[in-house]
Structures are given as structure tokens and as C-alpha cells.
Amino acid sequence: MASTELSAGLGPTITPSAGQPHAQSGAPPSRAREAATKTGQAFLRLFRTLRSNRKASAGFILLAFVCVLAAVPGLIAHDPPRAEIYGRSLGPSASHLFGTTVYGQDIFAQFIWGARETLIIAVVSGLLSTALSVVMGVAAAYLGGVWDGGLNLVTDTLLVIPSFPLLLIIAAYLPNSGVVVLIAILVITGYSYGARQLRAQALSLRGRDYLEAARVRGERSVYIIAVEIIPTMTPLIVATFLGTAVYNVLFAAGLQFIGFGNPASVSWGTMLYWAQNNEALSIGQYLWALMPGLGIAILGASFALLNYAFDEIGNPALRPVRRHRVKRPR
């Protein structure tokens, strides 16, 4: 029951990733609508299946929790998150649920307000890098030949180079930059895995009859890719988004933890940075360091659970077995 509302709430968040390429393709409006309808139907089917999956429901609930924090932090936490106006390093109490920082800020308020930037970074970088994966993967598979070879080489190379160290050195050359740069480098380093998987699926679609039929009808490649290929790949595209989002939550937290981005902003990663810099653990302000990490874990886990549920739906063999099997010989 709860998951119905949640899935409805999540729909518009994800749809643009699949919808975007159509808008850019410049196809006539009717065709764009056709693509949108196909994609929409694919989503509906998906969510109907997801509702019956326990891991998916758990993932939705966790994600909804973070979304609520991000949407209306002011209703939940009444203290300003940045103001240094309270007693310093206070323990947890009724007026300061998680205590205060060494600067006299309310940790509970920081935790609630921190959800917003963390969620935005994860979703925006996830969407953009999924879009890049789709473009690179599908283009490589569809164009073939030299294009395939070239795009593939770039993707494979990026796939092997460890992302986090690469993120670190790019970040080092761009000190004092904000969220936009953070998202940009997450997108560049994070698209490769998805691109590879999408390419593989697009390759398997290439020889299908209905694509051949579209070509015979004289449709342009842009139309075929946007209206015929991409809607078919919707489940994998959503899975790519979820997988990338997990990694981006972790990578962004790691980067902010060592002080990249704007340390003055309120997010879970920067909370961890200030907690670590002031040795929150040694001075006994455990919640200062533990709560933002818990938030990151909840957000990461919500994407990961949804992703795993997708795997189960795509591959029925993986679904949990409830009944006991016939006893097999030892």
C-alpha cells in the first residue's frame, strides 16, 4: 500500500533520464509522445512488479524517508543548522537531541538539513551519468565499426582506472570549487560501467526484426534509437541509474569527508569533515560523526536495495525460495 504512493512519487524523478534523449533528438512531437508513452508503460509495468518485492519496498521506504528530510527540513528541525548560537559540545538533551558541535551548532538540525544537498548530488550526478552511459553505450552499439572501437576503448580504460583516486586528483587541481564541479567529476568518472552494460544490451537488440522494419520504413537513426531502442532498455537504464547513485553517494561522501567541495555547506559529507577535523570521536561527541554516516548509509542502502530488487525481477532464478525443496541426495 505504502509503496504505491512512493512509486508514484519516484516516477517523475527517474523518468527524465529516459525522457531526455527524446527531447534532444528533435523528433516531431507525435513521435516524442509515442516514445514517452512507451517509456511510461514500461515504468508502470516495472512498478507493479516492484510493489510485490520486499527488498524494493524497504528501499522505497528508506528513500522516501530521505526525500521527506530533504523536502521539508524546516518542519522537522526548528533550529538553524549553521548558526553558532548554542552552548559548545553539549551532550544529547531534549532541546538538542543529538547535542551540539564544538562551534555550538545543533547537530540534529545539521543532520536533518544535510539530507538535501546529499540527495541532490546523488540524484543529479546519477541522472547525468546515466544519460552519458546511454549515449555512449547505445551510440557505440548502434553505430558500430570504428565508432564502437573508439568509444569502447575510452569506456574500458575509464572502467579500470580506480575512480576514487582519479576523483581525488581531479579535485586536488580544483580547490575551493562547489557542488557543480563535484557533480561534473562524478559524472565523468562514473559513467563507464553503465555504458558497458547498456552497450551489451543494445548489441543484442541490433539484429531484431522490428528495428529492421523501422529501417526499411526509412526512419532516421535518431528516431530508431530514441523511440525503438531506448524504451526497450528502460529496466536496464533504471538499474544503471540506481547502481551509479549508490557509488556517487559513497564517492561524494568520501570527497566531502576530506574537505572537497564547499565545507561551509550543510550536507552529511561536510558534517563528517568537521567532525573528523575536530576529533569528534575522541572528545566524546559520537553522534556528530555517526549520524551523518548513518544518513549516507540509509541513502546508499535505499538505492542498493532497489537495485538488487531489480536484479531479482530481471532474473527470476534469483528470487527468494520460500518453500522447502525435495530433499536431495548428499
Binding site: T157, P165, I169, Y173, V249, G293, G300, A304, H324
Partner: protein, 327 residues
């Protein structure tokens, strides 16, 4: 043979791409950040070291990019990695050779342990479909794999290091103990490695369990497994020799991507535990704007992943005849 050559070409190509990234990145950035840095160090470092730095970052030279690039490639190939700017006048190569054993010991051993344990648990979990092991483990490890490595490290510090019983959470061994190949030193060393190692193990093992379990489940529905059962082969034999042997192949090739991820995660674990390995120094270098050290560490970490990928490729080729004849 063709397969081996192709993999080798990929190895060399990726390594070249990394060196090139090191060369291109500082030149791409707005207002070459190294320029300001070098101005700061002018007069404090000797002629030859300065020259090497200038070649590395393309400062004060009027040579073409191509010329700079060739000089840079030659310097790197000769192992001339420059001088660390934050640890003047220590050469980068010295810092790296001091740090490498710690990372190999901590991250290397832990990764092998996680792979073996995780794959084992995955095999047994899939074999006993529907048992508590199979129902409880997947969701648990889906969640642990989405938690930042360094945060688990912080949790472990709170749980085991701040109160009795006290486990060390800082450095590699006590400064009061003299390094020697004897019992007290080894125990001390292992004590210090225990928490960071546990942090890496907890967050990375889920990856192996889940992929292995899923591969196993897919393989177990194959006809030849049914055939083996019909023949009345012992269960253990079917599990290991028939199912696991095939299911482990994608896991081996998955090692490539996962290893880079684990190495990336362990960077911050080393930082949280002040464990002076490659990752710890990488964070130091980034924070101290020590570009030569940073570039060298990036190159080395990539090299480590590439070597592991190459080993996994060779192993896959040995275990799976299909790859040898593929294309």
C-alpha cells in the same frame, strides 16, 4: 596467444592513458594550479629538481606541448618521479617505497581474504537455497556494500578502541616497541592492522558474496547439474567441481572493477586510521597540494589494479578454454 597479446596491449594502453592523464590534467585546469605552487617553492628547491617539476607541469618553458610530453614520458619511464613538495626534500620514490609494503600488507591481504571468504559463503548460500543463510545474507550485504568504508572504520573505533578492551586505532605499531622479527612485534603489528582490516572486510565482502551467489544460482539451473545429480554424484562434488567452477569465472573478471573500488575505499580507511600506506599519502598529497607525490601515487594505484586485472585474465584463460578461442 592472441588473447594474451590483446590483454597485454590493453594493459600497456591503460597505463599510457594514466600517464597521459597526469600530463594533461594540470594543463587543462584554469590557470595551471602548479604555477602558483612553483612560484612559492622557487629558490627552495635545487636546480635539477626544479627542472623536473617544470617539465612535469609545463611551467616556464616555451617548448611545444609535444616536446614537453615526450620529456615527461621519458622522465616517468626512467622512474624519475620528482621531489615531494610537502615533505621537502624527500624524493617521491622514497615515500612510495616506504608506503607500499603497508598497503600491500593491509589492503592486499584483506582483499584476498574477502574474496576467498565471500566467494565461499556465496557458494554455500546458493547451494542451500531457502536456508536462513540464503535468506538473511543477501539483504544484509546489500546494505553493508552501500556504507562508506571510512564510516565503518569510525564505528569500529567507537566500539573497540575508545573503551576497554582497547584496540589500537592509530598507525602501524607502537613507537615504544622495536621493530624486529619477534613475537611481541608481530602481535603488535597485527593488533594495529585488525580494525582497519575489519573495516575493509565488512564493506567489501558483500560484493563477492552477492555476485558469487547470483552466478551460482544461475549455473545451478543448468542441465548438466541435473545430469550430475541424476548420476548420483556426491553433493559436495557437484557444488565445487561442477557448479562453483563455472560460476566463479565472472567473479574473477569482476575482480577488475571491484578491486579499483576497494582500493579507492581503503584510501579513506588508511586516512581514518593514520595507516601510512599509499592511500594515506594520497590524501596527504591532495590536502598539501603536493602534485608530484599525488601523480605518482595515482599511477602506482592504477598499476596495482592493472596487474591484478592481468592476473585475473590469465587465471580466467587457464580455467575457461572458451576465452582462449574467443575472437
Amino acid at each position: 596467444m592472441r588473447y594474451a597479446l590483446r590483454r597485454l596491449a590493453f594493459f600497456v594502453g591503460t597505463l599510457w592513458a594514466c600517464v597521459t592523464l597526469n600530463f594533461v590534467l594540470p594543463r587543462l585546469m584554469p590557470g595551471n594550479p602548479a604555477l602558483a605552487l612553483l612560484a612559492k617553492f622557487h629558490g627552495r628547491i635545487g636546480g635539477q629538481a626544479l627542472k623536473a617539476l617544470e617539465i612535469a607541469f609545463g611551467v616556464h618553458t616555451h617548448e611545444s606541448y609535444l616536446h614537453q610530453y615526450i620529456d615527461y614520458l621519458r622522465n616517468t619511464a626512467e622512474g624519475n618521479l620528482g621531489t615531494s613538495l610537502s615533505q621537502l626534500p624527500t624524493p617521491v620514490s622514497q615515500i612510495i617505497s616506504n608506503a607500499l609494503p603497508w598497503t600491500l600488507g593491509l589492503v592486499g591481504v584483506t582483499t584476498v581474504l574477502a574474496f576467498v571468504l565471500g566467494t565461499g559463503i556465496g557458494i554455500i548460500g546458493a547451494w542451500r537455497r531457502g536456508s536462513w543463510l540464503d535468506n538473511v545474507l543477501p539483504p544484509v550485504f546489500v546494505i553493508t556494500s552501500a556504507i562508506p568504508f571510512f564510516w565503518i572504520g569510525m564505528l569500529l573505533i567507537v566500539a573497540f578502541s575508545l573503551h576497554a578492551p582497547h584496540l589500537p586505532s592509530n598507525g602501524t605499531f607502537d613507537s615504544t616497541i622495536i621493530p624486529a622479527f619477534n613475537w611481541p612485534f608481530i602481535v603488535n603489528l597485527l593488533q594495529h592492522a585488525l580494525l582497519p582490516s575489519a573495516a575493509i572486510l565488512i564493506t567489501s565482502i558483500g560484493l563477492w558474496i552477492l555476485t558469487m551467489r547470483n552466478n551460482m544460482v544461475t549455473v545451478l539451473s543448468e542441465d548438466y547439474i541435473k545430469m550430475a545429480r541424476a548420476k548420483g554424484l556426491p553433493g559436495r562434488r557437484i557444488m565445487f567441481d561442477y557448479a562453483a567452477r563455472n560460476a566463479i569465472l565472472p567473479n574473477l573478471s569482476g575482480l577488475a572493477m571491484s578491486l579499483g573500488f576497494v582500493l579507492g575505499g581503503s584510501v579513506l580507511v588508511e586516512y581514518v586510521f593514520n595507516y601510512p600506506g599509499l592511500g594515506f599519502w594520497l590524501v596527504q598529497a591532495v590536502e598539501g597540494e603536493d602534485y608530484p607525490l599525488m601523480q605518482a601515487l595515482f599511477l602506482l594505484i592504477t598499476l596495482a589494479v592493472l596487474v591484478a586485472v592481468l592476473l585475473a585474465d590469465i587465471l580466467t584463460a587457464l580455467l575457461d578454454p572458451r576465452t582462449r578461442t574467443a575472437r
